[in-house]
Amino acid sequence: MSVLERQVNNGVNVQALLDARKALSDAPEAAKFQWRASCKWINGTHSHSTIRNFFGLGGEQKHRTEFSFDADHPEIFASEDKGPTPVEYVLVGLTSCLTAGIAAVAQNRGIQLRSVTATIEGSMDMQGILGIDQDVRNGFDGIKVKYQIDADATPNEIKALVAQSQKRSAVFDIITNPTSVSVEVN
């Protein structure tokens, strides 16, 4: 059944996405994007990051407004807790990416969503970052995401939405696969 017949509206302009996909497969150069953020140390473990510009479609682009983010550590680490920890931003990145993907895939498949909620847990052994045990990694030793989805679809169709969203998610890819990182000092 087509999207139109079912009058599905998840607030996603799938046609625009499909048009963009077509346009970018014809012009691969325009598909090269660069995402940016700046970060400024405030005090202790507290830092302030801002996001405004990015590059894509062959030129400089801008968000409608500047977004800003404070990151810090909680008081149990003798910090002032002026913001979430950086690793919590990673969790936010993953669930918001997967959730956006679920909406887009649902729209494309003609599935009306009524509610989508997720909880995410990243487990970590602090012996890693504190340098207590060399065999323990710094990062998460596992991430668990749980979705509650109410939609006009069978349980398997809903599972397929979530699976497809992972398959197409940038953050899922960033977390599950290695990425080369270079950090320079001027």
Binding site: S25, N156, Q166, K167, D173, N177, P178
Partner: protein
């Protein structure tokens, strides 16, 4: 040095595999003068580039060629490679294929009224050319494969013959489609413990409701689905092969079956950093995707059986258990530790068009074509994944495609211009008086 004469002909077919032979038969049927240029012998890749134990993953009945269909007493069996080679050899003789074997095409260039085909046995000029060299000329290996430590032996499925050729010790098989799972299980059984890297894959039972999955694909019309009927043909053409193997026991060789033999599953090989192989954390989702996709495929079969009143003639529907993934699949493996002695790259194949000096390749090195009609006048391609139909890359898919494209080619020769890609679907090729012994055996 002797100067070979330049010969002129209506059509040149490059490659004498099943696709080239099917095309030859269809061109002969339309009285189009042609020649097949073959670098080696008939069925050359099957003779030289396959491992010893290989059986086709398609049942015997599913090898119909123009004028030929299987009439032996084991239609549901899976033939070994020597038998396939024999069939293709006999087919070539039966259709009197105008073969030039041991003739390697070194260059194809555009000429005034067609193409110049240079070979190591002289030159041909032709108005039309059919590229039937197949999709599997080169084993595709990841770009960072050269980061593997030199202490680890690496080989591709084209170099692999049998487990005896690899040294004792652990083996990392990269890729879990048909080739990867088949090699993994054979190597593991030889006493060399296998770790299998699993990326995107297509899970399928060997038989479903008592019938071969290939039978269901055929009878439901899925294999006949046309390239202009699917929503995303680029994606359909990239799909990996189904996880199938042809064994006398008709075994299903899915990841659960592999795990049960002791093969260890890890995620897609995502990279090698230093001497450490890194596996993707996406294994669970790759398996979930494959399980769900298989569920949808079996639903399609069930629906078809119901709608065609077949319920009573096939076994009751069943569903396979979900793929089991261990709690924390391994994410890293030190290739310098000696745990892995050999890596087998079952990471797919790609065609070799290095000799094709016509601007018809896209940025990925694939021929731009519309259902086999290349974007170069008078040029055709055959035997690629979902070329015109879902079955196009199978032996059984060549007949309909060759029939369509030979019809197009005939019109092209008559009208000397590119015509719209519209042609009638198959006039069924008449059966040739060949393979009489198989018919008599019945």
């Amino acid at each position: 040095m002797r100067q070979d004469p330049v010969r002129t002909i209506d059509s040149v077919i490059v490659g004498a595999g099943h696709a080239g032979l099917a095309m030859s038969r269809c061109l002969s049927g339309r009285s189009i003068e042609h020649v097949i240029l073959e670098r080696g012998e008939v069925a050359n890749s099957w003779k030289r580039e396959r491992w010893e134990s290989l059986r086709l993953l398609t049942p015997n009945w599913q090898s119909r060629l123009p004028g030929y269909c299987y009439e032996g007493d084991d239609p549901d069996g899976y033939r070994a490679v020597p038998e396939l080679i024999e069939i293709l050899d006999r087919y070539a003789r039966a259709i009197s294929a105008p073969l030039r074997i041991r003739t390697t095409v070194t260059a194809v260039r555009r000429a005034d009224n067609g193409y110049v085909v240079k070979t190591d046995q002289g030159e041909w000029r032709c108005r039309t050319i059919v590229i039937a060299t197949g999709a599997c000329n080169i084993a595709a290996v990841p770009s960072w494969a050269n980061a593997v430590p030199s202490t680890v032996q690496t080989l591709t499925p084209m170099q692999y013959r049998s487990p005896q050729q690899i040294e004792p010790g652990g083996v990392l098989v990269v890729g879990a489609s048909a080739t990867g799972i088949q090699l993994a299980v054979e190597i593991h059984r030889s006493g060399r413990p296998v770790t299998l890297c699993v990326g995107e894959h297509i899970r399928a039972p060997r038989t479903y409701r008592g019938k071969d999955t290939q039978w269901w694909m055929d009878v439901t019309g899925l294999f006949d689905q046309r390239y202009d009927q699917v929503e995303d043909i680029a994606r359909a053409r990239r799909l990996p092969s189904m996880q199938l193997v042809g064994t006398p026991e008709r075994l299903t060789l899915d990841l659960n079956a592999l795990s049960a033999t002791g093969i260890r599953l890890v995620g897609r090989l995502a990279g090698i950093r230093g001497s450490t192989a890194q596996f993707s954390g996406s294994l669970r989702n790759q398996c979930a995707l494959a399980d769900l996709k298989m569920g949808r495929l079996l639903d399609t079969f069930d629906l078809w059986a119901r709608d065609h009143g077949l319920e009573s003639q096939v076994e009751a529907p069943v569903r396979l258990p979900p793929t089991v993934v261990e709690q924390s699949p391994r994410l890293e493996l030190n290739l310098a530790s000696g745990e892995i002695k050999t890596i087998v790259w079952a990471t797919g194949y790609r065609p070799d068009y290095s000799w094709l000096q016509v601007p018809v390749l896209d940025h990925k090195g694939q021929i731009r074509h519309d259902g086999g009609v290349a974007e170069a006048p008078g040029m055709y391609v055959l035997g690629l994944q979902f070329l015109r139909r879902r079955k196009s890359a199978f032996i059984d898919g060549a007949a309909d495609d060759a029939n369509d494209l030979s019809e197009h080619l005939l019109h092209y020769l008559k009208h000397r211009r590119t015509i719209l890609n519209q042609m009638p679907l198959s006039e069924k090729c008449r059966r040739l008086p060949i393979f009489a012994e198989e018919r008599n055996a019945q």
